[in-house]
Symmetry: C2
Subunit: 159 residues, 2 copies
DNA sequence: CTCATATTGTAGCCAAGACTACATTTTGAC
DNA sequence: GTCAAAATGTAGTCTTGGCTACAATATGAG
């Protein structure tokens, strides 16, 4: 399921390995493939974003808090944190909380920016704050750089 | 992973089973939970949409074509089709192609409408057609009814 | 009609992400 | 300083969604 570590927001083009095997055809397959690969990073992004939030707000990010905030069992959170560590995004020592590596911090920053942008655009389109926040959580992982730029432009254009 | 069959577009409120177990807290957990559950339907939606396309365009939807269009091995496609059948969205007899049930057709219709709406909004925001199509493929699965309405409204408002 | 080829189906493997159940630390009240 | 409770960690299980490899069935060229 994880054939590509990062995508889109992380700046890595990727999408090549998967498509290399199955030439598929034209554009559609490539498009779907990209969509799929984005899903693997989506979880990482959510966790990294939340950890950054917790570190900033509470000063520490504990597995239990992470689990509660994500609506997931603590065991699940801990496993996810292990994956984050494997991906070089976080560090964690037993009973000592989770921290972000530089790479993790950079990702968190990009994710946060993107999240804000998506929410702002949704709101500008007339979506309520609550729905905007909720939907952005899912949408943001699939917004390409190109679209992100268009969003920024759009927001700027309307004062 | 599949605790809820459908969501959002299908009109089923849901989101209750997951959240029932873990009271979690306030809104964020619920939000993330909803995002997660949407992912299970995303694949179903993609397949159903594609099958509808093939049936309409080619008159039949064969597993190999489906696999090629999705950039996936035929075995994977066949397994997915089995899940579709289990979910009551499709029917398929060996060597006889795939068809949609009424439920599947209804889903396909909703998905198609939503897809078009998302693409149109992206384009209206200045995203190129190609990027709009590509990003919509991922985004569309996370757009709530509410946001969908706002999108329609927005498009109508600008003539 | 036969047989090679293409399509379809099956089986078995893997990692991710989720869970429950149980074990181990830490921490805080006393 | 002890010890119960909370937090953490570990183990084992499940489904999804992916793959490869192999088996079975259709199809079409000859």
């Amino acid at each position: 399921m994880v054939r590509e570590e990062q995508d889109r927001i992380s700046g890595v083009p990727s999408g090549a390995k998967l498509m290399g095997k199955l030439p598929a055809e034209g554009t559609q397959a490539r498009r779907f493939g990209k969509t799929r690969s984005a899903q693997s990073s989506a979880l990482h992004e959510d966790y990294v974003e939340l950890i950054a939030d917790l570190l900033e707000g509470e000063g520490e990010a504990r597995p239990t808090d992470i689990a509660r905030r994500l609506g997931v069992s603590h065991a699940t959170a801990i496993k996810a944190i292990a994956r984050l560590k494997r991906a070089g995004l976080a560090t964690a020592r037993p009973y000592r909380g989770v921290f972000l590596t530089q790479k993790g911090q950079a990702l968190a920053e990009r994710v946060r920016l993107r999240h804000r942008l998506v929410v702002d655009v949704l709101r500008a389109l007339g979506v309520s704050s609550e729905a905007a926040e909720a939907d952005a959580e899912g949408i943001e992982h699939y917004v390409s750089e190109h679209t992100l730029k268009a969003f920024a432009q759009f927001l700027k254009s309307r004062q």
